[in-house]
Amino acid sequence: MTAEVEAADGQADEIPPAPKGFLRRFVFSIDHKVIGRQFLFLGLAFLAIGGVMAMLIRWQLARPGVPVPIVGKLLFGPAGGVISPAAYTALFTMHGTIMIFFAVTPVLIGGFGNFLLPLMIGARDMAFPRLNMASFWTMFAATAVLTASFFVPLGPPEAGWTAYATLSTAIGAPGPGQTLWVVAIYLNGASSVMGAVNYITTVLRLRAPGMTYLRMPLTVWGFFLTSILNALFVPVLAAAMVLLFFDRVLGTQFFIAGTTPGAGGDPILYQHLFWLFGHPEVYILILPAWGIVGDLLAFFARKPVFGYRVTVGALVAVVVLSTVVYGHHMFTTGMSPLLGESFMLLTMIISVPTSLLVLSWLGTLWRGAIRTATPMLFCLGMVFTFGVGGLTGLYLADITADMYLHDTYFVVGHFHLIMASALLMSLFAAVYFWFPKMFGRMMNEGLGKLHFWLTFVPLNLVFMGQLVIGYEGMQRRLYDPSVYDFLKPLLPLNRGISHAAYLLGAAQFIFVLNFFWSLAGGARAEANPWEVGTLEWTVASPPPHHNFERIPVVVRGPHELSHPAARSLGRDWLGQAEVLEESPTPTEPA
C-alpha cells in the first residue's frame, strides 16, 4: 500500500501546463478529452449522413422509381430525382461503409474510448498523446478521401461495404471511386491501429495504484478487449486493401481468377482475408457496447453487476472465439462441408458466453431499485434488441438454414438488430450518460425519453420487418423488388417498414435538438449527477486539464452500489477511491 501511494506521488509532479492558443487547445490538441470530443462530433456527423442514405434506400424500396421528394432534384438531378440503379448501389455501399467505419467506430471507440479510458482508470492522459492526435487526424484524412470518392468520374464505389472481388477490382469497378474507397479504409484502419496501440498500453501501464484488472469498470474492459482485436485483425483488412490496391493500380491478379494461364488469382481469397477481419470487427464494435451497458445497468439498478468475474470471463471468451468463426460468412462459397461444420459449431459456441452476458444483465436488474433515466431506457432497449438480434444469429450460423437465408433481408435484419439497434442504443445510452461529464451540462430528460420511445419502437418495426421479408425470400441489395412476381406481395410490407424508418429518422431530430440545446443551455452538471462510484465522476464536469490533481488510489470495485457501509454516509454508493473512516483498509467485498 505504501509503495502504491509513493507511486501516486511520483506522478503528481509531472503535470505539463495546459496549452495556450486556439489551435493547440481545440484543433491539434493532444488532450484525450478534446480528441474524444473531436471523434464524437466527426462520428455523429457521419452517423447523420449514413442515416440519410438509409432513408433514401427505404424510399426506393417503398416506392421504386418514384422521384425522391424535397431532396431528389438536388441529389439525383440528371435522373429527374429518381434513384437510378447505380445510385442505389452506391447508396447501400456507402451507407454500410460510413456506418461501420466512419460513424460507430469513431463515436464509440474513438470518442468514448478516448474520453473515458484515462478518466476511468485514474490516469492523466493516454500513454501516447501525440499518437492519439495522429489517430484522429488520420481518421479525418480517411473521411476526406471517402468523401472525395463521391465526386470522381464514374461515381462513388458500388461494390457493397464488403467490396467483394471482382466487383471491387478494376474489372467490376474501373473508376477511381473504388480506389479512393480502398485508400480511405486503409487510413481508417491505420487510425484504429494507432488507437489500439495507445489504448492497450494505457490500460497495461497507466492504471492508478490499486486499479487491478478485476476492479476495472466493464466499459474499460470493453475498450481494452476491442483494442486487442483491433491490433490483431485490422492489419488483416489492411492486407486485403493492399492487395486490392495492387490489383487495381499495378495490374496484379490476386483476386481475379484465371485471366493469365497458370497465374490466376482467386476472388474467394479476398473473402477469406475480409472476413478474417470482418468477423472480429463485429465484436470490435459490440464489445464497448457490452461494457457500457454492463456498467450502466448496475448504476441504474443500484446494484453491483451480477457475476462481474463471469462477465469479464465471458467477454474474454468471446474475444478468443471471435477469431475462429469467420467462415460462417462464407458457407455458400463452396467450402468443404467438414470445414463448414467446424465453423458452424464454433459459431454456436459463441452463444454460450453471450448468453452469460445476458444472464448477467438480467441478474443485475433482478430486484434492483431501477431508476428509469434516459440512459437506462436505452440500456434496457439494448438488452432487448441484442436478445432478438443474437437469437436470429443462431439461424444464420446453422448451415442448412443459412443456405436459404444467405443474402436475404433476414441477414440484413439480423445484423441491423445488433449493429444498428443494440449498438445504436448503447451509443445513445453512452451519450446521455456521459454528456454531463463531457460538456458540463445535463441533457433534457423529457426529450431524451421521447427520443427513446420514438427510436425503440420504429427501430424494432424496421428490423423485425426485414427479418420477415427476408424469410419470405427477398434478397438484399435488390434495386427494385417489384419486378419479381414472387416479391410483389411484399410491397405493402416494404412500405410499412419504410414508414417506420422515416419515423425513426425523424425522431433523431429530437436527439440533435436536445444535444445542441443542452450544449448551449442545459442545466449545469455537478461532478457526480448519477451518484456512481467510478473515477471519472470524482472530478469536475467537465474534467480539468490533466484530470486528477492527485492520482487516486483505488480501494474497491466499480459497482459498489447499495453498499451497507455507505448507509452511514446517507447514500447508497461508494467511490472506487473512497477511503472509509471506520475501516482505513477496506477489504475486497465478496
Binding site: Q11, E14, A231, L232, L243, T252, Q253, G262
Partner: protein
C-alpha cells in the same frame, strides 16, 4: 502491473517499448495475412514456380539482406547515422532489384511469382522507409526502440525472402 520504483522518464521509456511491441504485433499480423494470401495463391497454382516464369534472382535479393543486417548491427553500437545509410542503401538496392525483375518479366503484372514478391517487398520497403524517418531526428534516448524496430524489419525481410525466394 509491477509498480516501477523508477523515475518518470524510465517509466515512459517502458511505456514506449510496450507500445512498440504492440505495434509490431499488429504489423506482424499484416505480413502474416499477406503470407497467407501467398500460401493460398501458391496452393491453387497448377505448379510452382509458375510455368514459364524465369528463375528468381535469389543472389541479388540475398545480397540486399546484408544491408539490413548491417543497419541492425550499427544500431546496436549506437551508430544511428551509419544505420540510416545502410537502411537507405537497402531501399536503393531493392529499387534496382524491382527494376531488374520488371525487365526479366517478373513484374507485378507478369504472373503469380512476381506479384507476390512485389506485394510483400513493397510493403516491407514502406516499413523500412518508416524506420528511416524515425532514425533521421534521433537522440540516444530512442536508440533502444529503434533497435527493436530495425531488428523486426530485418526478421520480416528474412521471412519474406525465405518464403518467396527459397521455398
Amino acid at each position: 502491473m509491477t509498480p516501477a520504483p523508477a523515475t518518470a522518464s524510465r517509466r515512459r521509456e517502458i511505456d514506449a517499448q510496450v507500445g512498440l511491441v504492440i505495434f509490431l504485433g499488429a504489423t506482424a499480423m499484416l505480413f502474416a495475412a499477406l503470407l497467407l494470401a501467398y500460401a493460398i495463391v501458391r496452393s491453387e497454382a497448377p505448379g510452382w514456380p509458375p510455368a514459364g516464369a524465369p528463375p528468381f534472382p535469389r543472389g541479388a535479393a540475398a545480397a540486399n539482406t546484408l544491408a539490413l543486417v548491417a543497419a541492425s548491427l550499427a544500431l546496436r553500437r549506437g551508430w544511428a547515422r551509419a544505420a540510416f545509410a545502410f537502411g537507405a542503401a537497402f531501399l536503393a538496392a531493392q529499387a534496382l532489384l524491382w527494376r531488374h525483375l520488371v525487365s526479366i518479366h517478373l513484374g507485378p503484372a507478369a504472373g503469380a511469382l512476381g506479384e507476390v514478391f512485389f506485394a510483400l517487398s513493397a510493403l516491407h520497403a514502406l516499413h523500412v522507409l518508416g524506420g528511416l524517418f524515425a532514425l533521421a531526428p534521433t537522440g540516444s534516448r530512442r536508440l533502444r526502440l529503434l533497435t527493436i524496430y530495425w531488428d523486426f524489419v530485418l526478421v520480416i525481410w528474412v521471412v519474406v525472402y525465405v518464403a518467396v525466394c527459397l521455398l
